[in-house]
Amino acid sequence: MDGSLGSRAAVRRPSRAERAPEASVFSRVPISVIALSAAIGVLISSMGYADGRAGAGSSSGPGIALYWLGQVLILLPIAGRLISRRQMSNGSTITLLVILTIAEYLLKVNYSPLGFGFNDEFLHWRGTTNMLESGKLFELNYGLPIGTHYPGIEEVTAALISATGLSVFEAGLVVAGAAHLLYILFLYLAFCVAIRSHRIAGIAILLYYSAPALTSFNSMFIYETLALAFFGMCIVAGLRSAIEKSPSDRRRWFIVAVLCIFATVITHHVTSYMLTAFLILVAIASRVTGSRNTAARFGILATISALSVIGWIAFIARDTISYFSPTVVGMVASLKNLTNGGSSGATSTSSSPFGNLALEIVGLLLITVLISIGAWQAWKRHRRHPWIMGMAIGGTLGWIASLGIRLGTADGQELAGRAATYIYIPVCVLAALALTRLVNSSPVRRFGSVVTAFVVAAVTALVIDGLANGWPPYWERLPGPHLVAAFEASVDPEEVDISNWSLAELGPGWRIASDQGIYPVLIGYGGQDPLQQISWLYATDKWTTALQGRASGQNVQYVETDTRLTKTLSPNGVYFPGDTTTPTKPLPLANLTKFNHIQGVARVYDDGTITFYDLVSLGYVPKP
């Protein structure tokens, strides 16, 4: 360990196991050249985006090829240098990780460079705008009611906007980008302390990039992105509070750790739970391995974190329990059903291209093998080390749980993908330990640079697996023409203009039935209250008493229709938010045009494709 953390844990001399394998072509490439390669990679991938925007979208062969070529130019030299370079300083490792993080973040920005495009970002755009306009915390956000009780990212962005005059979009990019970079670097510092080798820590971070959500959900303008930065900072501060030589320094780092806990609890629910779990895990592992001081320090931090979480839920965010209840109940029911020999109801992933599926399966197998070897290495070589043992236990159990969720529950694919952000933290440490051990083993070393090249290629493929099976999905890998009910691919200037029109002409807060495509934009820019699970309203070509009663009961005030829903199926599988049934053919036009002929239903907006109907222009939903 090069000691940048100045920790007692870092004084160990490098062991044989920490040595890199034989030098490869990448080991001689200067980091400045790798930075240039990454920048060119960003440019080439952005040209792929441009090719998609030219009209073909994600079905553009050259565009897809350019995108992945750019990714290879970013990933391969960095992976090659991290894995194969024999002599590399801590500063060089950090520089490589900064290059990797910035390059991937720029690609995320370049996907939608004129405004937020990812659905969840609209929700926080609305939250920040509400806070700036009302001057209040906990302002209602129709699209993300739970988010109103976790206003951390909105507060930070509002403060930055107030100081600089930037727009919500610009300030959001700055906050999300800085928080994402901060998270990666704090995680790296934590790994350095835990593994005692900046080289393995660097490889662990590289492997962490195979987590599907890392370059998408964890770098978007959403509350988790910021909370993760505090999560990482808290881990480092906690570790430093346990290992610093001076009691004064330990106290000071402890204060920072506590501040991070509070900030995490205010910013994001799941991250605060994961932070508590991590602190408990390290406390237990420290106790087991005989590190009483560390156990005591982490025990206190875990208690503070747990009490903060409980207090926040009890006094501020009471709806957190009802928010998570359906997910937890569903997971338990699916797993119970599975253990009883029934079907879990897990969604099939067969809609993904074969290449993505194959890559995913190989990736899962590879990580499972690496975890097994890594756990064995941890037991064999580091059984007295609390953090490594904690990661071995947490990583192994987390991985098994993740596989269970993925295979055994409905929406398991998505849940496992989102959970990977946390589960991959110990997993990638174990995998890095295993990988380093493997490539340094004498039988493998005999083959020298061939093995290095193979390992570099395998790790790059693993990261590409994370990107390919992460977000955006393959059918919107490139920005392009409008797709129906298809998340980012449905956000065109038309949807943005209509949402702005709805706010200007209707006012905020109307309960609107809409399709999945315009739904998040209506929440964000429109400030509206679009409804979930309203496909029944579009399921018939007749306006019936039953429909009228249901619309009246749910207080549906406006209905949005989009004639493009009558022409193609949604690549996402469903047309309407919250739907679980996948249609097999496009909607009949009459199901949408029936609203034209209901006495008392006003046709208030028409742009040739999208139409808005006012169901309550008479003050109530009219009968047939």
Partner: protein, 308 residues
């Protein structure tokens, strides 16, 4: 910074005052953005210095600065919420300025007390130092080139996304003027589903009582267009407007509104004045006789012309 130990806190104090003034006076972005950014991060720098009081390596100092800069608005905003101080621009700027000035005092006291600090932590050389891959100037040049290419990629994407072609369209709307702000505010403030249902009902009532509506035409065809808007009440043509709009331009008109009789607006894009391209209505029906008297292309537009 460490050659002149207090230069950093002097700069931070000046930044706090100038940044606060720039934000308060709404100065141009060229002034406000750099000063405001410095003001935003200044509390993080000072308080990480005050709390940790260690000479951390540069990267760790930068990281803790940014991390603390993010933490303060969160905790400060929550404190303001507890004190019932509204979180408007002045509050945020005031919070940052006060935290910076307090941080200046805290760091100054710390340094005056002479808290012993060791030399900056240097990386321990447990692994061999990196080899020099070439002259520093050359590497700096290549890093600079990488930055230019990266920024160029963003600029390229901005320009490319701005030039993306989308299908053109013209929008026509006719919406009641409804003041539901009070009901909405009540619902939002309460954050209560029952209050929101009540607000929805109040909004419905307000819709039924509306006496005015906005007619709006927007051109997004990508080129200037000429339109004709025909407005019919009880099936009779009562108003016609000729409208010329540039791309992105909007035409507004406030009209009297009722649901007691039929109101129908048809938009034509010139030179075609026979088939309307868009139409909106208020949902009221016409008698069969009146429908028969309408031009044939308009008959299907009337709500009760087709039985559902």
């Amino acid at each position: 910074m460490y050659r002149n130990r207090n230069l950093d806190i002097a700069i931070a104090a000046i930044v706090a005052i100038l940044g606060g003034l720039a934000a308060a006076k709404n100065m141009p972005g060229q002034v406000t953005i750099p000063l405001g950014t410095a003001l935003f991060f200044a509390p993080g720098y000072l308080w990480s210095e005050a709390i940790l009081s260690q000479r951390l390596p540069g990267i760790e100092r930068a990281m803790t600065t940014v991390g603390m800069a993010f933490i303060f608005p969160i905790l400060g905003g929550f404190l303001f919420y507890g004190l019932h101080i509204p979180l408007f621009k002045s509050s945020w700027v005031g919070l940052l300025v006060v935290l910076t000035l307090l941080g200046v005092v805290a760091v100054a006291i710390q340094r005056l007390r002479g808290v012993p600090v060791g030399p900056p932590q240097q990386p321990r050389r447990t692994q061999p130092p990196p080899r020099q891959g070439g002259p520093v100037v050359l590497h700096s040049f290549i890093f600079g080139l990488a930055a230019v290419v990266g920024i160029g990629a963003v600029a390229f994407s901005v320009k490319n996304a701005g030039a993306q072609k989308f299908p053109g369209y013209t929008a026509l709307s006719m919406t009641q003027v409804v003041d539901n702000a009070a009901a909405q505010n009540a619902a939002i403030l309460s954050n209560d589903p029952v209050a929101q249902d009540n607000a929805a009902r109040a909004a419905n009532d307000a819709q039924a009582k509306a006496t005015q509506a906005h007619l709006v035409v927007t051109n997004h065809q990508g080129v200037p267009e000429q339109y004709k808007l025909e407005f019919r009440q009880k099936g009779k043509l009562t108003n016609t407007w000729s409208i010329t709009l540039n791309d992105g331009q909007t035409w507004h008109k406030t009209i009297a509104w009722t649901t007691n009789y039929s109101m129908l607006a048809d938009l034509y894009r010139l030179p075609n004045t026979s088939t309307p391209i868009r139409y909106v209505h208020n949902g009221a029906c016409l008698s069969d006789t009146t429908i028969k008297a309408l031009p044939s292309v308009l008959k299907a537009e009337v709500p009760c012309s087709v039985k559902t």
